[in-house]
Chain length 224, copies 2
């Protein structure tokens, strides 16, 4: 049962990596959970890094193809261009509802992703960049139509704010900032809140970037 062992190793590694981080998780713990032999990792994946890469690749491909599918649908209706809300939904929701069976599966994956970023392994970073950046570029281009005043650089690092809010808050590293797992809100609700939060933030940035804005439309919303 070659494929079976391979799958078990991937599942065990994903679970442990997301809880403990990649470098911190020993191979022996993975093989024990998978019910496999230590040498099987090197046989199937060449090295620990090879295993980590494959764990991430599985999910990233799934996540990105879902995001791009939604983006394609939005761009197909070319009589009316996609709204910022719709684009943000296409970016955020797939990250949170990836797992059919487990409502928290998506969050586990996002946590894994956050941990992968925190690792200092250069090869791992290059690998993630290759599997990620083209998606972000497409979304940035689509959003620039809904945010006409922001230039490319400005939009790109405001998108960092969005990705940061998504990654960090969902990752719930310590459980003391975020109380989501206690309250047990479902992923879709969280996505809606984050979409609204991000849309308002991006719109305010766009309004502020406009040269001839009277005082800044969004700022008057605040308790000033």
């Amino acid at each position: 049962m070659a494929a079976n062992t391979r799958q078990k190793l991937l599942d065990a590694a994903e679970s442990l990596f997301s809880q403990q981080g990649i470098t911190t998780t020993p191979l022996r713990q993975i093989t024990e959970l998978a019910g496999a032999n230590l040498a099987a990792v090197n046989y199937h994946f060449g090295s620990k890094l090879g295993l980590a890469r494959e764990v991430l690749r599985r999910r990233l491909d799934e996540l990105n193809s879902e995001r791009l599918k939604r983006l394609d649908q939005l761009e197909a209706q070319d009589d009316k261009p996609a709204t910022l809300d719709q684009l943000l939904e296409a970016l955020i929701e797939p990250a949170l509802i990836m797992s059919r069976d487990d409502a928290l599966g998506g969050m586990r994956f996002v946590r894994l992703l956050a941990r992968a970023y925190a690792e200092n392994d250069r090869e791992l970073h290059r690998f993630l960049r290759e599997h990620y950046s083209h998606v972000m570029r497409r979304f940035a281009r689509a959003m620039s139509q809904a945010l006409p005043e922001m230039d490319a650089a400005n939009l790109r690092w405001h998108l960092d704010f969005v990705i940061g809010a998504l990654t960090y808050a969902m990752a719930d590293f310590t459980g003391h900032f975020s109380h989501m797992n206690q309250i047990h809100i479902d992923a879709k609700t969280i996505a809606q809140h984050l979409v609204r939060f991000a849309a308002a933030g991006l719109s305010a940035a766009d309004a502020a970037a406009a040269p001839s804005t009277p005082t800044g439309t969004a700022r008057t919303l605040l308790g000033g």
Copy 2:
């Protein structure tokens, strides 16, 4: 020169931990950079964890006392309560302008903080919680006056979005999402953008939480 060695170890550890992570950085590398002996770490800090704790404590105390100082000032002027923008500035700016000499020093610290969260060490997490949560609680309480419609839980995990955007974007784990170090924007400018982003997002969440809101004030800003 006991104090000297101690300081050198702390500085070297802070630099290396922020670049490579805590568990991934060997003590030997720290002592080499500090020009100290391996055994000095255990003499001065008891263990590697003790060293990591002290590295974080230095900066956290500095950061939190600066944040609380600003919050105190805002609350002292009790004829008019602090605006959301002012509160967010008090929360965000100190994280980015902590280092006098180096404009990027603040970011290096935030990156270290993000890495510390990614570590799975329980004692380290408990330590961070003890040095952090009371500050967040005070800010949450102050903000709840500027955001009257949100309940405590709602506000708390929307603040997670803010902290996430701050931490993750500033940390610049991989350098491919964020291009800040290339563009070289100064910390204060970034803080201003993040304050506006967060203020708009929180205001939108507050408006949406209001039971009798017509359609949601902030939503009409978007391209709907």
